[in-house]
């Protein structure tokens, strides 16, 4: 049986958060698809399963994970992966995405998306783990670029070259978080526009848009605000290059009214609608 694909949903969706359950069910016609934070929905039973059933029966859904820890030194947790597979299969998930980061050490889980050095060795290690995940799940996964606050001196690759090689080696897709690109530009001095031109944009199947919090001289990727003008600009540049692609508004903290969230989604949808008449500048995978 052919699996449903995100390629058919080139529209702006919403990251679902529980306080909006009643609103989103009431206004289902205005929301073309939703993304669920995978790790919150792994219970096979109880209230979580009950809510999940109602959501997946109403919306096309994608699942976005935080618990795989693809860049940990340890192998993939196969028990966790089996739970992920069960959830994706029973929910007819359009897409499974994860972060290019780690959250598990040998002694604990750290509830954050932690960066690691982009070296030849880590590339091989992460690529092998992605291969294992895709084979086990019998589906392609998307990898998301993360925001970072520190950098390593001994990187062999830039982030975009590391991602490009991962895509080339594993055939994984790319979830491009344009807010993370901007946060890294401010915090680490990386160049978002240059990164955009080096990434394998034809592999982009989803874009994330979110708001950050401005601290003194740096940005925190808090997903607690509206998308800022600079990020909208990077998004516009991305869509100019890729053509319409499924795009998502993420808002996880200081959650606003559903109306505010829909307003953000409509801005993204407007940009996607305008792009439908233009031919994308990138229509095949270009590496480097």
């Amino acid at each position: 049986m052919e699996r449903s694909s995100l390629a058919s949903v080139k529209s702006a969706g919403l990251g679902f958060r529980m306080p909006h359950f009643a609103d989103i069910m009431k206004r289902r016609d205005e929301v073309p698809w939703i993304e669920l934070l995978l790790d919150n929905w792994l219970c096979e039973d109880g209230i979580v399963a009950d809510r999940l059933e109602r959501l997946v029966n109403t919306f096309p859904v994608t699942f976005h994970g935080v618990g795989l820890s693809i860049a940990s030194s340890s192998p993939v947790d196969e028990e966790y992966l089996q739970q992920v597979k069960t959830l994706l299969d029973k929910s007819d998930a359009l897409v499974y995405s994860e972060h290019l980061s780690f959250s598990r050490t040998k002694s604990q889980f750290i509830p954050d998306l932690l960066p690691f050095p982009f070296t030849t060795k880590t590339l091989e290690h992460v690529a092998n783990k992605i291969d294992f995940v895709q084979t086990s799940l019998n589906r392609q996964m998307l990898i998301e670029n993360v925001s970072a606050y520190i950098d390593f001196p001994n990187n062999d690759f830039s982030e975009e070259d590391f991602i490009t090689d991962l895509v080339k080696r594993t055939g994984c897709g790319l979830l491009l978080d344009v807010n993370n690109m901007y946060v890294n530009q401010v915090n680490l001095g990386r160049d978002a526009e240059k990164a955009l031109n080096h990434l394998p944009l034809a592999a982009v199947q989803e874009v994330h848009l979110g708001g950050h919090e401005a601290a003194e001289g740096f940005l925190i990727d808090a997903h607690n605000n509206k998308v800022c003008p600079e990020v909208w600009e990077i998004y516009q540049q991305t869509i100019n290059l890729t053509g319409p692609v499924a795009s998502l508004i993420e808002w996880d903290n200081d959650i606003p009214s559903f109306e505010v969230l829909l307003g953000e989604q409509q801005v993204a949808q407007g940009i996607l609608n305008a792009a439908k008449t233009n031919k994308p500048l990138v229509d095949e995978i270009k590496y480097g």
Binding site: T105, F152, L188
Partner: protein
């Protein structure tokens, strides 16, 4: 040999450095980093704070009533020291905090200012039980038809099972009243207006009987029913339950009220 080969940064090193950071040791991670526009120490501090905040927020959400009683600042201080001592071992923040009631016992025993708040230990146990009940698996209705077809011999040997959502709590304080009082929004600023009674209180925490009912119930029971339910939890066989807990009602020796427990969803299954 180039600099990278001489001093490669391994994923192991990075993980160890973040482990140290979670214990409050900053230097290990800083040694691995290069300078950035925001500065190493700022960047490292963001990770320390965001990771710790995620753990503390999980504790705050689960132990909301304890937080309400202790106040934000004091509770944050307690939660921070708890989170530094107890790492997250499962990849699920909803399961984080099982050790907090035991930690609260330690705090109450060692901190003078908490001497009059001994009930916090049991209150935190109640809040943890409510968290477990909320996330417990859905239970299926007791199979009365199958039970009815059992022979007397089979029935005698079977063990009853409490619902997956059922938790039992014995407290020396009326923690249900304390919990209910502090959950009412209008009481956010008010002092507790009733006495904290030191006595025996027995509670059954569960989600009721209906399959799709997710309302959390804190049911106060007497010592007899609590003992019966504890024996069921400890897998006493049916015949033992009937013999050990038979009681005289109007001159008749009656077994425990299994039918009531089943109709409330407290007993949800049996094993032969």
């Amino acid at each position: 040999m180039d600099e990278k080969q001489k001093n490669p940064i391994l994923l192991d090193d990075t993980e160890d450095a973040f482990d140290a950071l979670m214990r409050g040791e900053l230097s290990d991670l800083s040694k691995l980093l290069k300078d950035t526009p925001i500065g190493q120490s700022v960047g490292v501090d963001v990770y320390r704070q965001t990771s710790m905040s995620a753990l503390i927020n999980a504790i705050k959400e689960t132990f909301e009533t304890c937080r309400h009683i202790l106040g934000d600042d004091y509770f944050n201080q307690c939660a921070t020291s708890f989170c530094q001592l107890y790492p997250l071992f499962q990849n699920d923040l909803n399961s984080y905090g099982s050790d907090f009631p035991a930690y609260m016992v330690e705090l109450v025993e060692t901190r003078e200012e908490l001497a009059s708040l001994k009930f916090l230990c049991d209150l935190s146990s109640l809040e943890w039980a409510l968290n477990e009940t909320f996330f417990a698996k859905k239970k299926h209705p007791f199979d009365l038809e199958k039970f009815g077809k059992l022979t007397d011999e089979q029935r005698g040997k079977l063990t009853l099972k409490l619902g997956s959502d059922v938790r039992l709590l014995h407290s020396h304080y009326n923690v249900k009243d304390i919990y209910t009082f502090h959950r009412q929004e209008e009481n956010i600023i008010n002092e507790c207006s009733f006495d904290v009674i030191s006595d025996n209180h027995f509670y059954v925490i569960h989600r009721g009987s209906a399959e799709t009912n997710f309302e959390l119930l804190i049911e106060q029971v007497d010592s007899y029913n609590y003992s019966v339910l504890s024996a069921i939890k400890n897998e006493s066989c049916f015949i033992d339950l009937c013999e050990n807990f038979a009681r005289d009602i109007d001159g008749d020796m009656q077994p425990p009220p299994f039918g009531d427990y089943i109709s409330k969803g407290i007993i949800s299954d049996f094993i032969l």
